[in-house]
């Protein structure tokens, strides 16, 4: 029983972390994309 609670906690946190990771990578993408465009004239 107690072990099942452990499992549930781990699973939920894994899912939360996964969502945060995906969210973060998208956010970082946006900023940096702009940076590159301003700075290095790569057009």
């Amino acid at each position: 029983m107690i072990y099942d609670i452990f499992t549930a906690i781990i699973l939920i946190s894994a899912i939360v972390i996964a969502i945060i990771m995906i969210y973060k990578s998208f956010k970082a993408k946006k900023n940096k994309g702009k940076d590159c465009h301003d700075n290095c004239n790569c057009k």
Binding site: T7, I10, A14, A18, S25, C40, N41, C42
Partner: protein
């Protein structure tokens, strides 16, 4: 805070005056000195100019001037003080103290030619770990770090290497914009002492810009080794910049360099002065005339030296042309410039740009003539040439390159085998321990089947990856990588790319993300996108674990050769795609390009171990991050739902077998065979459960698409999971191939399980036959580069279009090629 941000009646203390020399001088003469109190008296109706009170006088400043003065206000100090007690104590003295503290922060930028050791200096000074390599174009982005020196906080920024500050290539523009928009307090001009003349060209441009610079004569050891003599103190006096010799790879001279930086920052340097390079009467005359016109725009000349702008305009610099657009008399300026260029070119019969460049080199030659003595000893100078006559030989060069690559992959496999085995045993010991010491529960299953099988399956490949990186790092540090680029340059031209694209491609063997970023050194946008598009075929280190696993399971006797072939196959595909793209998407002309060949350098043990160490920690971090999370999620998808309608009553069968164990007269042979049967029943049960789990349903859903390639649902799912990172293909296989191996430590490994898995429980046909394994390897090599790489493609090309294109064309290509492997293979087998 900046002075121009203050409101009427606000008071503040001056922290720092930014901007170029002449501006600072004028402002200081007006009384705006560090540590003085300044008060806003009145703003003109249009907000410009503003009247300030300083040292009892009233002075008016324009906003453009005030924006270059950094101040600190009482409010700012209170906000930043956590201690409530000292909040009440904010008096003038305290404020002054804070202002001095803040004034002791120096912003320093490293500027210099490619490969002169800027990043090495940066790493040594600040304790950072940025990438260093003995070839041009390693750094493509600004990197900053902070450290303390003699009570000062130094904010140091490493910039990409540039030969000049004209606006030809993205890097040059980047560095120039950095200097113009960030106004670093001090620029450290890093110079490769073994190549002084060419490096000083950039210095002459810094002189024109009228900024505070310290020259770091880096690689001074190489100059000494050659036996040359350089009177750098005298040279420093001549050009007006303090000079400090350094050997940044060993950390020599960096303290002294920073002392000089502080001295110059505090205006205590005896040698610093702003000199004018003499461009000859004709040009000087024209510069004067243009300068007069520019000087009418004070807001521009506060920031940029009018002389610098005039020279740049004469050089037909497009970027400065844009700067001029804000001027009211811009057409007058431009007309004067056009006329001047015409006059100069007519009378001197040369392109105006060449005239300026020649004058600069003339200045350098003159300065060096008085200070630099070549050593009569020529032998040492040519050691690089001697090695090159062999390694870049017309006929031998290419075979040697292939040989070196072959050795690299053989070593990755054969040397890596041993430590890999040790780690594998450790992982299995851990698994057995958990198995014996935890009561059966979902948590135990999560630990064993999810974490240990998933992450453990990937972690064993750490040694292989480190060996591969050791080779790449050695090639980088010795300078062989630049030669390799030179060797393949001819071939690259044939496929429509030039040698400069080779370095991003080689970096792709490590990781495609920095490789895609390093394409910034390529000027032509078309070439750049082309290089980005074919980069994913360079097999990154994340794919290595998959190869080693599959090759180890199916082709144990030819492992090194197959690994080598996979990499070569990737390169061939990249070349073919490049030719195809060049013919269809990017019809562009070749641009001639000179590949710089740096001298050979001994790699330092320190640098190499640092490199390895950072790779290892990176890998382990990935294990405990993305890969762990993915393994847990894959496990959960395979664990639920718990109820399965089994086709047979497995429990019943197991019980009857167990009864047999008890009742039978127990000869050892009998016990073993019954245990074996129980194991098989267990495995079938597990397999059936997995097939009915969520992940099984997903797998069954995509299986029809993949079955022509010979992949079952588990292989298909592992490929789908692999888009988050290719190591996850392995961790997913680890979770999905849970079937118990036969007793014995070595029989628990994933390689063993893959080797013995059959297509389904009834048939004896192996799932991973050589053909399917080959299809799988080809698919993993070519399909969807990971999400991070796609993000990098988007970032560097600036549109989603190319990112989406990369996703689709690589995956489609992977499917087609894997299918071809099946078809062609069947013809031969």
């Amino acid at each position: 805070m900046i002075l121009s941000e203050l409101q009427v009646n606000d008071q503040a203390i001056i922290v720092k005056i930014k901007g170029r020399g002449a501006f600072r001088k004028r402002i200081t003469e007006m009384g705006f000195v560090k540590g003085k109190k300044v008060k806003v008296i009145k703003r003109a109706p249009l907000k410009d100019p503003v009247i300030y009170e300083i040292m009892g006088y009233e002075v008016s400043l324009r906003n453009s001037e005030a924006s270059l003065i950094e101040v600190i206000t009482e409010l700012e100090v209170i906000k930043n003080t956590e201690n409530t007690e000292s909040k009440n104590l904010v008096n003038e003295e305290f404020l002054l103290q804070k202002a001095t503290e803040k004034g002791k922060t120096i912003n320093v930028a490293l500027v210099g030619n490619p490969n002169c050791g800027k990043t090495t200096l940066f790493n040594h000074a600040s304790g950072s770990q940025e990438h260093v390599g003995n070839y041009s174009g390693v750094t493509v982005d600004a990197k900053s770090a902070k450290f303390k020196h003699k009570g000062y906080t130094i904010n140091i920024v490493d910039l990409p290497g540039t030969y000049s500050l004209s606006a030809y290539s993205p890097e040059e523009l980047y560095v120039r914009n950095y200097i113009f928009s960030e106004f670093p307090d001090i620029v450290i001009n890093v110079i490769d002492s073994s190549n002084i003349e060419r490096n000083l060209y950039l210095t002459t441009q810094l002189i024109d810009m009228d900024i505070k610079a310290v020259i770091a004569l880096n690689m001074f050891d190489e100059l000494e080794k050659k036996g040359d003599k350089f009177d750098f103190e005298k040279f420093g006096k001549m050009v007006g910049f303090p000079v400090a010799p350094t050997v940044s790879s060993r950390g020599r001279g960096i303290h002294y360099l920073m002392d000089k930086v502080i001295e110059l920052y505090e205006d205590n340097d005896p040698y610093y002065r702003h000199i004018h390079i003499n461009y000859g009467n004709n040009i000087e005359e024209r510069i004067k005339i243009i300068q007069e016109k520019i000087k009418q725009n004070i807001s521009l000349t506060d920031k940029f030296s009018s002389r610098f702008l005039a020279i740049k305009l004469l050089e037909k610099d497009k970027n400065v042309n844009e700067l001029i657009q804000v001027c009211e008399n811009k057409s007058e300026i431009l007309n004067t410039v056009y006329k001047s260029i015409e006059i100069l070119e007519k009378s001197l019969k040369e392109d105006s740009e060449t005239l300026v460049t020649d004058a600069k080199y003339g200045f350098i030659a003159g300065a060096l003539k008085e200070t630099y003595k070549d050593s009569p000893n020529l032998i040492l100078k040519n050691s690089s040439k001697k090695i090159d006559s062999f390694l870049t030989h017309k006929l031998l060069g290419f075979p040697l390159f292939i040989l070196i690559m072959w050795i690299m992959f053989q070593a990755t496999f054969t040397l890596g085998k041993y430590p890999m085995g040790w780690i594998d045993n450790l992982v299995n010991l851990l698994g057995n321990w958990v198995n014996n010491n935890l009561a059966a529960s979902s948590f135990k299953d999560l630990l064993i089947d999810g974490v240990i099988h998933g992450v453990g399956g990937v972690i064993v490949f750490l040694p292989n990856i480190l060996i591969l990186f050791l080779f790449i790092s050695l090639m980088e540090d010795t300078g062989y990588l630049a030669r390799a680029a030179f060797i393949v340059d001819k071939l690259m031209h044939k496929i429509g790319l030039h040698g400069k694209s080779f370095i991003p491609l080689i970096m792709g063997f490590g990781c495609n993300v920095p490789a895609i970023m390093s394409t910034r050194t390529i000027e032509s946008r078309n070439d750049r996108i082309l290089t980005i598009l074919i980069n994913p075929f360079m097999s990154c280190s994340a794919r290595l674990p998959v190869y080693i696993l599959i090759i180890g399971a199916v082709f144990p006797n030819h492992s090194g050769n197959i690994l080598f072939s996979i990499y070569i196959f990737g390169i061939i595909i990249a070349a073919l795609m490049a030719i195809l793209f060049k013919k269809t998407l990017f019809k562009a002309k070749d641009i001639p390009f000179v590949m710089e060949l740096p001298p050979y350098r001994m790699p330092t043990i320190k640098n190499t171990t640092k490199h390895m160490w950072s790779k290892a920690t990176q890998y382990l971090k990935k294990m405990s991050g993305v890969i762990l999370i993915a393994a847990i999620i894959v496990w959960a998808l395979g664990y639920f739902p718990r109820e399965t309608n089994y086709t047979k009553d497995y429990n019943n069968i197991k019980n009857s077998l167990k009864n047999e164990l008890i009742t039978q007269n127990s000869t050892t042979a009998n016990i073993i065979s019954i245990n074996e049967k129980i194991r098989e029943v267990n495995n079938s049960m597990k397999a059936e459960h997995l097939e009915n789990s969520y992940i099984g349903r997903i797998g069954k859903f995509i299986e029809p698409v993949m079955s022509p390639l010979g992949f079952d649902w588990r292989m298909s799912v592992s490929l789908a999971a692999g888009i988050t990172g290719k190591e996850i293909v392995v961790s997913t296989l680890g979770v999905l191939f849970q079937a118990e191996g036969s007793p014995g430590l070595n029989n628990q490994t994933l390689i063993y399980k893959l080797k013995n898995t059959t297509k389904n429980s009834t048939s004896k046909e192996k799932l991973f036959n050589p053909l399917t394994a080959l299809s799988y390897l080809v698919f993993v090599l070519i399909y969807f580069p990971c999400i991070a790489a796609i993000a990098a493609v988007k970032k560097e090309t600036g549109t989603w279009k190319w990112a989406a294109f990369t996703v689709f064309y690589t995956t489609a290509l992977a499917w087609i090629l894997a299918f071809l492997v099946q078809i062609i293979g069947k013809l031969f087998l």
